[in-house]
Symmetry: D2
Subunit: 356 residues, 4 copies
């Protein structure tokens, strides 16, 4: 059992702040396979003093590390790159401090995603106290903002639902085949999206063999979708977004209903999507007739997209599948880091899905 040796002679010293939740643990899993990164510090308030391997026996390569409290100045001395996986509100001041230390950061919280601080304050019911930092943050969806991510000091990693939704709507709006009016996004997420929970409503018995919608017409990921899609459409886009809780560990399937803006066919629409994503390592547009399944992207940073044009109703139905913890969180964060630090984009993210 020689797991506890230093992982490798790595170039980049990284810290994972908030590493006791699922997104943090997933960052550790992925970074263990990244040849250019060494994780030098993990933080957690409530698990301080224990090793990640106690909470997560699968992280056996991290026996040498111990959760420590988040002291920005100390961390800034140890690490050169920061993954922040703290809850929103908590992330805001920590990110600001580390950012001002001149460190590069990917923040997985919601605190720096919304450009408009008043939208943040309305949807998150929390003041934004670091508007100067917010101005410098780049929304970290590489397929839309790669060039700006490259030079960003702070990347706001997208929410899990917006990732699947925006990737599904983007080519249709950009190409003009769909109308920006009346967009409906119906998403279904695995239970890990709720985080590591001590709540009977997320206990095995009350999720297993169940299925329910929640936060209907009020989920906080809505303005994030609207911000990005409004920019694409060059007009204000309002989204109807309904999330549901799936009895699986991982995966988000998003079914999107778009009104066609011009006469088109399934084949033509597919061709628009294929062109848009032709150079993207992590997006696959499926062949006509094929539809994505979350099981084919489990554990990977990939997004699978399928679509069908319903000629009877003039609706383009786009279905996207991602792993909420990877492309929807930790994998996209590593992808962003790869872009920021000049690693080949697939570094550490090449695994195929574990299926079945």
């Amino acid at each position: 059992m020689p797991e506890d040796r230093p992982l490798k002679a790595a170039v980049l010293k990284a810290a994972v702040c908030g590493a006791s939740g699922y997104a943090g643990a997933e960052l550790l899993r992925i970074l263990a396979g990244h040849p250019g990164v060494e994780v030098v510090s993990v933080t957690s308030e409530k698990s301080r003093g224990i090793s990640p391997v106690v909470l997560y026996p699968h992280l056996q390569k991290y026996g040498r590390l111990t959760y420590e409290p988040l002291v920005p100045e100390d961390l800034a001395r140890k690490a050169d790159f920061f993954f922040m996986a703290l809850p929103h509100r908590t992330s805001q001041p920590a990110v600001a401090l580390i950012f001002r230390e001149g460190k590069r950061i990917v923040d997985l919280s919601a605190d720096f995603r919304l450009k408009d601080p008043s939208a943040y304050e309305k949807w998150y019911n929390n003041p934004h106290n670091h508007r100067d930092v917010l101005k410098k943050a780049v929304y970290g969806l590489p397929e839309l903002h790669r060039a700006r991510i490259k030079n960003a000091g702070l990347v706001a990693n997208p929410g899990c639902y917006p990732t699947g939704a925006i990737l599904g709507v983007y080519p249709a709006l950009k190409s003009g085949i769909a109308s920006p009016e009346g967009i409906i996004v119906d998403s279904k997420s695995g239970a890990s999206g709720a985080g590591r929970q001590a709540d009977p409503r997320f206990s095995f018995c009350e999720v297993n063999e169940g299925f329910r919608a929640y936060s209907v017409a009020s989920h906080r990921h809505t303005p994030e979708m609207e911000q990005e899609l409004s920019a694409v459409a060059k007009q204000t886009v309002t989204i109807n977004f309904t999330p549901h809780l799936l009895p699986v560990n991982r995966g988000i399937l998003t079914t999107i209903y778009l009104k066609t803006a011009k006469k088109t066919t399934t084949e033509k629409a597919l061709s628009v999507y294929q062109k848009q994503y032709a150079n993207e390592q992590f997006v696959r547009v499926l062949a006509p007739g094929a539809l994505p399944d979350i099981s084919a992207v489990r554990g990977t940073n990939r997004c699978d997209i399928g679509l069908v044009l319903d000629e009877r109703t003039g609706t383009l139905i786009v279905v996207t599948a991602i792993d909420n913890l990877v492309k929807g969180a930790a994998g996209q964060a590593v992808h962003n880091m790869n872009i920021m630090m000049g690693f080949p984009e697939e570094t550490g993210l090449g695994q195929l899905a574990v299926f079945p």
Copy 2:
């Protein structure tokens, strides 16, 4: 183990044709608790000669019965009421023969649901050879057609998806609070909806931890929804319907997007629904803020309904939950039989859900 005694001194002698599939087995489960019915015959071609208890160990009360081939004349002598749970196409001639013998029937197949035989022929790619019988069939959704079911000789039991969809749309269209245009029905069904399968795509490994859409813009339950909702709206209604496969055994959750036709609120819309279903034993409209979960209706003939008005987008989002094998098949069939034969409607259907 005294299970094999005659069940009870029952009044109505019933046959279940096609009793080796899940809908047939569910009919047997429910009828075992119905004090007014004795199942005198079960048919199955491929399982002929064995007892239902061999395929379904939980049906221990049926050790005395053996699957027999479907010979209408013989069955007509034995039984007075017929539940037909055959595949479509197969059901058509069998129902016609038994109907002409003067027996009362609930048919669980799709063969007598669509009033317009050309719609049937188009969507099912199969001729309809019994149009005279079709004319006499009543669509068996009690909440819409109770009076006509009462006197029907043949009731066409609704499809599982249409049951959840129609109950969710009906009050909004009838009251005029929603527009009949642009209705979107996004449904998620447990795997038993696919029947008893010998197909790797429905094997445990390929459904578990997965989730996918299928038959997008082409599912055969679409015209059934359109038929019923057009009648309610008194105009042609076109539905966008997308089914998905949930990794659970039972349950359909349907999320419906309706455009509001007049200014309303969540509370007012709930009140419309509550009034519509005030006297329905099997429909429950949830309190404001509550949303249905399939786990609360598992094993029951109930439909739970919740709704939210999204004022930002002018959309009424209605969510319904049913058990696809009960309210979506066998339970509704027994409900229809109760109405036809004058039993109290809840007879045999009073069980609470098995939760968790």
Copy 3:
């Protein structure tokens, strides 16, 4: 939605104390279908003031009731029969008070199961302060103690694991075909056995797709099995018991390894079991070659038993399946009440399993 009417003109007024946990909720589910019982009171400390239907939407027939605190004197005026589903330790004084009020009780906790108070104190690390009451308690496994249950004032309802284990070992020990030495009991239980949990270790994500043993060589149900089997064997029996956590909601499968004490065959051993349980409504001994599955007893008060003699090793392998919340808790409690109060034993317990 006329669920809130008084349930029926019932004879026996019953209280369910500790009705906010899964065993309590299951008692309410079952009693809703019992024609001879009316539940007049439900208690819960932490959920006081709300209705069971808030915690458990499937219990729609209980909208009229509200959880109240457990005040024995008040309850004694309202109810004539008591189901106590409190945690151990808490149950002890409450049962004692109500017992002294002259009420008949089925206690689902562990507090009155072990005849030897020192065994209780050792395994539960808790003093037994009501030894006079303990002396009058009858261990409520009807298949072993029906006659004494009939006249008992206090029945200690067996633990879930002991129910499946004792029923599997009993005929082999009683008949002498197996040795009382070296008995191994390997059990696998669904997650509802852990109760309604707010603990990440029982969250969906950490149980689903997992499987683990726990409390190896130290589980508190061990002395209960030993007490009952020692009485059958008329010598001290020591059991090796290993529980495991299954990713299902309900069900316990117990695999038992017994050394044969005399030359026998699978058929002969089956015949011993069949004779032992010939008159039991809730025990089914399967045909040669058949083995039980928890899915065939889900939601029912039944125990299915299969067995195989391994001639190579001289081992009789017995497999039993129960639903931990029914035969392993609430169903057996109602069965005991039926015996105590003179109802036919199957009353309220006749449902077939909900499968699939």
Copy 4:
């Protein structure tokens, strides 16, 4: 989507025969991350002519390959190393032909595991026609036979159950702390162990929420365990083996009951196990009090082991967890190849488990 480029400038050209089943697909998944191997050919009779990516959308890196029929002479020209993942019986002649071509092989079938051809013929009910090849085969459990694997031309990859069982028993027998008499192996396997199935008994609905034992006292993996453990114990060892079907995709948990042969403690026994596996990359002996969970090894080539001494009964209870498709099949096959070809043992097998 640039997935279809040649994977890498690889050294070893490998063929995967029988690549349409789960073990074959898992070989492809793992080999896609192995820098020293290029898969040049995949065979499948029933899926000939299509790409693996059609059956398995997660294998997107294999779009360039097409299943071809197994023609040994042709394959021998293309590939230098062979993974054979055919059903037993079918594997025998194919392995023999390729072996005689001078190619090195890991055979994942059961055909070359049992040294004694008469044991093979008895348990598999099939003649062994290639006894000369059988004599040269090495049983591929690296932790026991590393030295011989290194030079083997043909490695018989162990069965999934024997892998978990033998690793759990081996140190106790070798050290003499446990008796070779009366060993009981109670295993629980995920459904992928049954292969890619078109059988209602393995459909989602009939496995999910179920649990059952099967092949009690008759499973074909029994003689494999007995062969290896007899060699360790230097006496004939007879095993009582009971497999069960778990409602999870992957993982085998094996609970082993051993009689202690000398006075010992949990700590001492753990120390024996820790010493035995101190240099093994893929075996982890857990700390006192910890027990393995299949979820911590999912997708990995690892075996986690925990144990407890039950002093009351003189029984050592050992629990092991593996992923049946990795350490129990494809991962162990790659491990064997690494040993045979001189790659570092962890090459291609370094991934951490995907949890949750």
